[in-house]
Amino acid sequence: MRNALRLAVEEARRQGRRFDRRTLLLMVTVGLATGAIVAVFPPPAPSPETALFTVEADPASPWLPAAAADDRIRVLEGQGQAFASGEALLLLSPEDVFYRGDSEASKAALEVLEQAVRRWIDARLRAEDDLDAAFPLTITLVFEPRTVDVAAVGPGQPEPEPDGGEAPGTGGEGPGEEPTPEPEVDVLEEAEPTGAIQRDLRPEEVEPPFPIRSLLLTFAYVLPAGLLAQVHASNLHAERVRHRGVLLLSAPLRSFDVLVGKSLPSLGLTVVIAAVVTVALGAGLLGFLASLSFLLFLFALTTFLAVLARSPRELSLLQVAATTLLNAFLFLPAMFPSLPPVAFLSPVHVVATGIRGEAVGLGQFLYATLPLSLGAFALGAVAVGMTREELLFSVRSGTARLLDALGAVSTRRWSLLLAGVLVVPFVFVAQLLVFVLAAVLSLEAALGIFLGLSIVVEEVAKGAVVWAGRRPGKDLPTTPLSPTTLGLLAGVGFWVGEKSYLVLTLVGFEDLPFAREALAVLGTGPGLVGITVPVFLHAATALLMAHGAARGRGWLAATFLAAVVLHAAYNYVLLGRFL
């Protein structure tokens, strides 16, 4: 470890000398020029919907002024020619508004026109003398969190009897009785809400809270840390390309020392960034820890890519792909704050919640941070495993090197179990991605495709572990483990990983409408039986593939197919029983 630290200091010193003067000059010039232009001609805020809907209006149409006042509507004057020809989506005549029933665009335009009319009316009515008539409604809205045993109180249940000593007898039981209006109890005072109170709302402003602000603030973590990780990966990669790293590797240093030593300065800086941003945003301790989980994952991922990529071009493209993926994975679930099981898939939601000052349960915290933390650890382990002469500088294809990496981890008994476990977060992410890709093609078919492909993904993962364990790269020694041992360990490891993850995360969400179905799809039924039975499935399929791997590629392919069929049959039976 001491060697690693020494390397770290040296590395920190070298970081500064990366960019030559010409480049910096170019970047600074571009930055200054942009700043100058923007200062002199401030660009308007982006308005993506400007003039999106073309509408034809008769000058005598009463809706014309409203349409003209809305930026999103582009008005053509006419009596119907444009509408007939399809250029206009709506026709505003003096009497009516016409739309096309078979055109989604037309319907969307109508919706927008409706909003425009309301807004226009409101604007006009502000000049009225009798404001009570113009604005007869004042709305106050509060979103109040409550903890409720949802299972106990469901629809159709009788209302609970009020306890003795509870509400004073104001006679407010049963429908149809008019309560006396005095003394007027303001429910707000009664409720003493902790949530934010929104007053004087217009009807169209009644909307569920969408914490976009706190979501956007989390970008403050990702941007600097991401940049740092990228720079670090480029540096690391550059050493490989010129084989400069050979000098270090031939020195009496372990590969762990080399990789960790080189990464330590950037890693430390990342943690510092996370701390600084946490304090600035007020995200709290849990927010800080949650941010670490995805920042460390990002760091581990880019380091792994630096060790894997064969050229700077490949590296930059892999980085772009990986960071886009990660960002999507981080931000999209957080867009559903009203669906905690979905929102907490992303640690960003934990951070955003912390910024808003709300509490997060331990179970939710673990659910959000475990996959990425485990993934970071896995990637780091694999990257260290690959930091060896023959692996670092080889020109073999990408998949071969991935397998090499896996093989470096999975040639001993315990590490084999570990490999099985570590693969699980990636399997889940892969399954999510499969679903998403299928959704692009067709939302309806997505579920079916997902069910099918998720089986394939799991078997591929187990197969990879088994193949890498049995037949690591040309330059690594073959494992002494027998196929049976190999298969059993890989299968059991996978099962351990899968079930621990599920147990940790889905417990507490069982009351979700789709929980049972989701669990069934993931191979778990309710109760102890549902959790333990799958071990046989995973062990069996992994065992099958291990024996196939021992005999070579063709046999592996055959046993893989058999495993998929076996798994599909198992799922079919399971789904049939529990649905």
């Binding site: 480049t23 170019l26 571009v30 930055g31 942009t34 232009i37 982006p46 993506p48 999106l52 582009r74 508004v97 989604e104 969307a108 109508l110 919706e111 409706e114 009515l125 000049a127 009225e128 009798d130 009570d132 008539a133 409604l137 106050t140 809205l141 509060v142 979103f143 409550r146 109180v153 629809p155 249940q157 509400a167 407010g172 309560p179 109890v185 303001d186 707000l188 009664e190 409720a191 809400p193 009807p203 569920p208 809270p209 480029s234 700077p312 071009r313 490949e314 930059s316 493209l317 886009t324 999507a328 999209l332 559903f336 704050p337 009203s338 669906l339 998403v436 890709l437 959704a439 692009v440």
Partner: protein
């Protein structure tokens, strides 16, 4: 001696092979596909949440109403999925807290003809809340409109109304203002990166010397390197537009959209090439290109129609003066940047500075 065209074709072919072999295009495509996929998911979720009509059955909810029965309460009662119970304030709040009721609504007024105050308490962080808010919103809009109509006599101005239940069944606006423009513009950035990378690679491995010693003029050389990145743009854009068309989102002005994207592609490819010619070092080129792209993005907001908006409008089929003007400006900028980049890169090559 080889004709200019053959040389350009040869250079371009190798360029294409390199791009395909390094899986750059596949990766780039994957990124875009994932962007589209995640957005589709997000959008499906949001659509479902914000339009209960889209759901097969709006969930049943219990509303505790505090106040007179002849104001807003009938509107709530008229909804099939809502069960309204009239209560006093304290019972209502207690009922809300223990989960009996999903919402508390209180209506108060000093006089029937005066302003009516509605206080609504909904549960935070629950799925029903999102659905209920959407439902309430529409009811409140209707309530206000009806109240205004009742009091129309007191108003000087005429009430112009438009009430309709018609809603688009697909997320029309989101697709055309966000999804399609994003997917059309992403290939543009990527092309610049690919072009810059290719040039700095040749310079770094010094294979540029080989090309220069061939009977190939430096101008032809630069064009050969630019061709493939530029052509990749319309290719990808067409695939995306096709995919959307198949899913029921046709693009009206395909030619103009592809044209706009290609023009922007020329601009960014020229920029990427010029950056690579200036900077040489590969990783520095990437960083500098990223900064440049950001800057261009900001500056592009100054155009009569910003690029995203332009693509939206063309996709929807609206060809209007500002849009045409923007296209013209982009065309001029692209031509100028192309000329500048070619001249600059050529000069750097001839000066043996690459």
């Amino acid at each position: 001696m080889a004709t200019g065209a053959r040389v350009v074709a040869t250079l371009a072919r190798k360029e294409l092979r390199d791009v395909l072999r390094e899986r750059s295009l596949v990766v780039a495509f994957l990124i875009q596909m994932l962007l589209a996929g995640f957005s589709a998911l997000l959008l499906a979720g949001l659509t479902a949440l914000h339009s209960p009509e889209a759901l097969d059955a709006a969930p049943e909810a219990d509303v505790a109403f505090v106040g007179a029965d002849d104001g807003f309460a009938p509107y709530l009662r008229a909804e099939a999925n809502l069960r309204v119970t009239l209560l006093d304030g304290a019972t209502a709040v207690d009922g809300f807290r223990d989960g009996t009721y999903d919402a508390v609504v209180q209506e108060r007024w000093l006089e029937r003809d005066a302003v009516r105050t509605l206080t609504i308490i909904l549960a935070d962080g629950e799925l029903e809340t999102t659905l209920l808010s959407t439902q309430f919103r529409q009811l409140l809009i209707d309530y206000e409109t009806d109240l205004r109509l009742e009091r129309e006599g007191r108003l000087e101005r005429e009430l112009v109304l438009l009430e309709t239940d018609v809603r688009p069944e697909v997320p029309y606006t989101f697709v055309y203002t966000t999804l399609i423009p994003l997917l059309v513009i992403t290939p543009v950035f990527l092309s610049g990166a690919i072009a810059g990378d290719a040039l700095s690679q040749e310079s770094k491995t010094r294979t540029l010397l080989l090309l220069r010693s061939a009977p190939v003029g430096p101008t032809v050389l630069v064009f050969g390197k630019l061709l493939v990145p530029v052509l990749l743009v319309p290719l990808q854009v067409l695939v995306w537009l096709g995919l959307f068309w198949l899913n029921g989102f046709p693009t009206r002005e395909v030619g103009l959209v592809v044209g706009a994207a290609t023009v922007m592609g020329v601009l960014l490819t020229a920029a990427g090439t010029a950056v690579a010619a200036t900077v040489k070092n590969e990783s520095a080129t990437q960083a500098a290109y990223a900064v440049l792209v950001l800057a261009l993005g900001v500056v592009s907001m100054l155009l009569p129609r910003d690029p995203l908006n332009l693509v939206s409008l063309l996709a929807v089929g609206t060809v209007e003066p500002l849009g045409v003007l923007t296209l013209a400006v982009l065309g001029v900028l692209a031509a100028a940047s192309l000329v500048l980049a070619v001249v600059f890169t050529r000069q750097r090559i001839v000066a043996d500075a690459l």
